[in-house]
Amino acid sequence: VAHPISRREVLQSAACGFGYLALAGLTAQPAAAGVNPLAPRLPHFKPRAKRIIFLFMQGGVSHVDSYDYKPRLFKDDGKTIAFDDARAIANTGMRGSSKRVMKPLWPFARHGQSGRWASTLFPETNKHLDDFCFIHSLHTEGIAHGPATLFLHCGSTNFIRPSMGSWVLYGLGTENANLPGFISIAPSAGNGGPRNYGNAFLPAMYQGTALGRAGGPAAEATIRNLTNPQLSSAEQRRQFDLLRELNAEQIRQSPADTELEAVINSYELAWRMQGQAPNLLDLSKESKATQALYGIGESATDNFGRQCLLARRLCEAGVRYVQVTYGDSTANPAWDQHSNMPRHAVHARAVDKPIAGLLADLKQRGLLEDTLVWWGGEFGRTPYAENNGTGRDHNPGGFTVWLAGGGVRAGSAHGSTDEFGHQAVENKVHMHDLHATILHLLGLDHEKLTYNWSGRPFRLTDVHGQVVREILA
């Protein structure tokens, strides 16, 4: 079922911002079903996951150095071979560029019961390999970061489209009326910036809420304007009472005006958020053991560890879609090792323990069963050296992501790239297909999740996308 929302409905209920349910409680009137666009909605079918954490490895992790094991790269290391380089094709149409094969910098081994291959790049995370569902045959659009990052988040390289989290929130609503339903922790300002968590033409209530910024300290990851920098809480209480009284006088002129009531309610919600959200965002509430699990307190992992722990707390509190970005706002973000592959180790060190900690923590709390964890970048990297140097260029033609938790086949691998790990060849999964599959896991039919704008229905997957049924548990 699509959810067309009329402007009128939006006006009536936007009213309620992200706090409609609580407001309904306040006004002692039960919320009429279907009135509030942010109320939890029934999915199209039974969901396998209720919420999602997307760990965005910005810049493009090298799949051939991490999870896509290709013996041929060791064998042919240093040989010059003709490859269909995506950048060369886009720039000049030229196929068959001569490139020097570069072997992985980290040795591979099989892991766990499932015996999946992984390199030593992520040693801690490797302990959870039996929970992973690898997709080795992902391919996407956009050769540069800007287009590919937008495609990853919004399903389009250039046109202004809603981001995936906005679609999910639009489709499913939120479970915690006192919090935003879609939160992006430490998003990058670059490569599409706010568009990557923007609502575009969907109503504003579906936009992502940014906490902090990419590369910034985790301490900055908070909801904006949550505290008053000047007034004591007693003073603010008195001022809030005054505001209530002023508004009560003013609304007397327009009794039973739903829009004005909505404004008043938005203040009540803000007031409650101000009281409650800081607790939720306060990681010191967690035990030392839990903090240590995420690598908090160790200099290399402290920042990303805090962000991952925050993600778990938000999920636990009912936030539907949480994205955590490991990246920055530059034109060559984090994992973008064009000329210096060994630097991958620095980034891997920063995220490895936090991710392993997050998985362990979700598991021990029973959250992994209905939480989908998605790890990946906007593209992979080439199996050959860039400009005959020591780095690798972008590779949108074939790369690896992994999913874990709600509804995916644990310990499995789907699809494959060619023997060099360059192009996806078997059971190819386009980014549109991945989007369709993730929506499916959340109980949404990507072809039915539509919104009418500019004279026609739009969806996340445009006119594409097929659910990859083989990876469903």
């Binding site: 939006v10 006006l11 936007a14 009213a15 309620c16 911002g17 992200f18 995506a86 950048r87 886009a90 720039n91 956009g142 540069a144 970061h145 800007g146 287009p147 937008l150 250039n158 202004i160 670059g190 490569n191 706010p194 568009r195 923007g198 109503p203 504003a204 904006r224 304007n225 505290t227 008053n228 920098p229 007034l231 003073e235 008195r238 001022q239 809030f240 005054l242 505001l243 002023l246 508004n247 006088e249 003013q250 327009s254 005006d257 004005l260 404004v263 938005s266 203040y267 919600l269 803000a270 007031w271 958020m273 101000q274 706002s329 059971n427 190819k428 009418n452 500019s454 004279g455 026609r456």
Partner: protein, 775 residues
């Protein structure tokens, strides 16, 4: 692999068995053995009538008959009998081109070889006499479209006769009242004069009236007091700032790109051009043409030429991904964006659909899309590189200035020559390194200190003027037939305009957009004005006059205003004046139970929320900090990226740089227009982040403190007098007795620090309902 479909298999069997053989039996055997099973297993789930019935047909291609394969799909014939290497089907199977089939995995070499053999044999297969091509996917035909209201020429009917002849103030009211009377409804009472003043100030200039200005109007008992106020506000330069900003929403105006936060240093000239155009009441048809083709229009003076060049910045403001590596694709992305913007802004048409297929709902065939695209493809918007770049050209200057610039440029050139010669030693004895360094320093200094040519963003005509081809399914790598440049057929009346062979056709396009016999343009403009003044358009979907948009509530009024607008020379000020002078505009917003809860009939005025700019400008006006400087650049020229930019100048909001990665928080939370798409109608949301902003953001706290200091400086007023004034400054009205009591008791309870107490009080006023809404 998709589950195999039994019905398809069955259909193919029937089809094959029930028809006469169309080739020799050896060929047919080959087909039966080697080809048909593969088609059924690997192709039919997306390319068969069965798939079509399930709406799973891809690319318009059917493989369940020979005829269908010869006919092919959207990309043309799939099979050319006897010529395997010219057959798209073979290319797709070989994975040698853009289209690669089956999409999941290339078939084994032996199977592909069978297909090559089969096609080279002449593609023998049982003929399918029943095969009919896929049903036409076209939506409304152009002829049918002509029956839809928006594509018919507007007609100016005489205003209807009304019963209550005393009520109408002008013709607008006769159209409104006639509908009300027809439903047995009566217009609301008139708005209170102070309320009307506040409404008019915000609507015409976007600023609150001072208490003195309200008093002056309320006390002016002359018959034309209201007209005088309207004319004074229309003549104020603040009018252009308010109305220009409306247009900037439509023009998706911004000063940076999301990608890498690139700052467009010269975009402000376009903003000022828009503001100036509204203030000078440039005829709107002229205004349209300048933005689409100003660079090609004749100009009498360098100033006029400059103005027209700046106007074309409009074409360059799209939020483009300059990093796109496929430059063919990027070039077309730019054209698509320009077309989408032009058609939404001026015609309220959603043309984007027709980029890939005939519009499903509106009478816009794909050919029309590429007829227009051909025109814009002849305009160069970007200079391509790894990261492409928009174009900037020098603005023409007067002769005196030109002489100064020339002199400076010659001096620079001469110095550069000397340095070059010195380095190469070609001018006899080489100067010492020290002397050379001195020259270089001199050059640097000269360049830094000398006058600079003003630049503007614009487009240039391509060297080669051409028509373009249909892009099949919107793909730049799959071109179809060539389409002569032209316009939307359904909206074209009168004689055909010929396209010049040596010019892009933008001038003709612009003239067609702004023509009196374009059925859409004038209607779209007057509807926008109505929306901006009344809070809801006569057609509420201001950017969509297609069949999926809403119908006009008062079609005759819309036509009347549109025709009159054209007759009176496309004057926006006259139009605005006519609407605000109507009795309808002056009604109270007080709602009473009504059979028309959405107020489609305008029995009352719509209450409206202050937009982001008005909220900010009013806070600054109340605090006494607002600076009314006009125009000019508003950030430093050396700013490279917009990330983290904060605007702290207390100038009007229209001058806050519109940075796509760094919109002011206040703009973000209060529904400022998305600067990447045409916005004729902003969202109006009510969410908690707005409340948090007003409760805790430093800007509000700081301005409340300024406002407090300002009111406390009024030693001539006692506490009650100050409260009265604060209300009048912030809300445009005096406090009620109850409000006066509330305020006094609050201030008393906080008396230890009166500045702080007043700041807290002002902040509460800024947060109150009557501040945020205009009645």
């Amino acid at each position: 692999m998709a589950p195999r479909s039994i019905p398809v298999l069955f259909a193919l069997l029937v089809l094959v068995n029930g028809l006469q053989a169309g080739g020799d039996s050896r060929g047919i055997d080959f087909f039966e053995k080697k080809i048909r099973p593969v088609l059924v297993e690997h192709c039919s789930s997306c390319h068969s009538k069965d798939a079509q019935a399930k709406k799973k047909l891809r690319g318009g291609l059917l493989v369940d008959s020979r005829a269908a394969l010869l006919k092919g799909g959207d990309s043309g014939p799939a099979v050319v009998p006897g010529k395997a290497q010219e057959s798209l089907l073979i290319k797709a199977l070989q994975y040698s081109d853009e289209i690669r089939m089956p999409p999941k995995k290339r078939l084994p070499d032996s199977v592909v070889a069978d297909f090559v053999t089969w096609v080279n044999l002449g593609a023998p297969a049982p003929e399918d006499s029943t095969a009919k091509g896929p049903a036409s996917s076209a939506g409304m035909s152009v002829e049918e479209g002509r029956k839809f209201w928006a594509y018919q020429l507007p007609r100016k009917a005489p205003p209807p006769v009304v019963q209550n002849t005393a009520w109408p103030g002008n013709d607008v009211d006769r159209f409104i009242l006639a509908q009300l009377e027809a439903r047995g409804l009566r217009p609301a009472p008139d708005a209170d004069r102070a309320v009307l003043a506040r409404r008019l100030y915000y609507d015409l200039i976007g600023l609150p009236p001072t208490p003195e200005e309200v008093d002056a109007f309320v006390q002016d008992s002359s018959a034309d007091a209201y007209e005088k106020l309207v004319d004074r506000l229309l003549a104020s330069p603040a009018y252009g700032e308010r109305w220009g900003r409306h247009w900037l929403d439509v023009a998706r105006y911004a000063e940076s790109l999301t990608l890498r936060g690139f700052v467009m240093k010269e975009a402000w000239r376009y903003r000022d051009y828009v503001i100036d155009s509204f203030n000078a009441d440039v005829p709107f048809d002229r205004f349209i043409q300048e933005q689409v083709a100003g660079d090609l229009l004749p100009a009498a003076t360098p100033a006029q030429r400059g103005r027209q060049l700046i106007a074309t910045t409009f074409l360059v403001l799209g939020n483009t991904n300059l990093e796109e590596q496929d430059k063919k694709q990027l070039r077309m992305d730019v054209v698509d964006e320009q077309l989408e913007t032009i058609c939404r802004a001026f015609l309220a048409q959603t043309i984007g659909c027709a980029c890939c297929h005939d519009h499903k709902f509106d009478p816009i065939p794909t050919r029309d899309y590429y007829a227009l695209a051909g025109i814009l493809r002849n305009a160069r918007t970007l200079e391509h590189a790894n990261v492409s770049r928009w174009l900037e050209v020098p603005l023409p200057v007067g002769p005196e200035r030109e002489a100064v610039l020339k002199k400076h440029e010659e001096a620079v050139a001469a110095l550069q020559m000397r340095i070059k010669a010195g380095r190469s030693g070609s001018a006899g004895a080489s100067p010492s390194p020290a002397a050379l360094k001195k020259l270089e320093d001199e050059l640097k200094k000269l360049e830094a200190s000398g006058p600079k040519r003003p630049m503007t963003m614009t487009v240039l005509e391509e060297k080669e003027i051409a028509d373009t081809q249909v892009h099949i399914r919107g793909s730049v790598h799959n071109l179809g037939e060539k389409v002569p440049r032209g316009f939307l057929q359904v909206a074209t009346y009168g004689s055909k305009r010929a396209m010049p062979a040596n010019e892009s056709g933008r001038r003709q396009f612009a003239a067609w957009l702004a023509a009196a016999d374009n059925p859409l343009t004038a209607r779209v403009v007057v509807n926008r004005a109505w929306h901006w003044l009344c809070g809801a358009g006569l057609v509420r979907t201001t950017d969509n006059f297609g069949t999926t948009g809403e119908q006009p509530s008062h079609p005759e009024l819309l036509d009347y205003l549109a025709v009159q607008f054209v007759e009176e020379g496309w004057s926006m000020k006259k139009l605005v004046r006519q609407i605000v002078l109507s009795h309808t505009y002056r009604l109270s917003t007080a709602a009473s139970p009504s059979p028309d809860p959405e107020n489609r009939l305008y029995a009352r005025m719509n209450r409206r929320r202050l937009d982001a700019e008005c909220i900010r400008d009013t806070v600054l006006a109340v605090s006494g900090q607002l600076i009314l400087d006009r125009g000019g650049p508003t950030f430093k020229a050396d700013l490279a990226a917009d990330y983290g930019f904060r605007y702290s100048e207390p100038r009007r909001s229209v001058y806050a740089p519109v940075f796509r990665n760094a919109l002011p928080q206040l703009f973000e939370v209060f529904d400022f227009a998305d600067p990447s798409v045409t916005t004729g109608r902003r969202n109006v949301s009510t969410v908690a982040p707005q409340a948090l902003f007003l409760m805790n953001h430093p800007f509000i706290l700081e301005q409340a403190r300024f406002a407090a200091g300002r009111i406390l400086a009024r030693k001539d007023l006692d506490e009650a007098g100050r409260i009265d004034r604060a209300y009048r400054l912030a809300l445009g009205r005096p406090p009620s007795a109850a409000e006066q009591r509330l305020a006094q008791s609050f201030l008393k309870s906080q008396s230890a620090d009166s500045l702080k107490a007043w700041a807290m009080f002002y902040q509460a006023l800024f947060g109150s309902l009557d501040f945020r809404y205009v009645n």
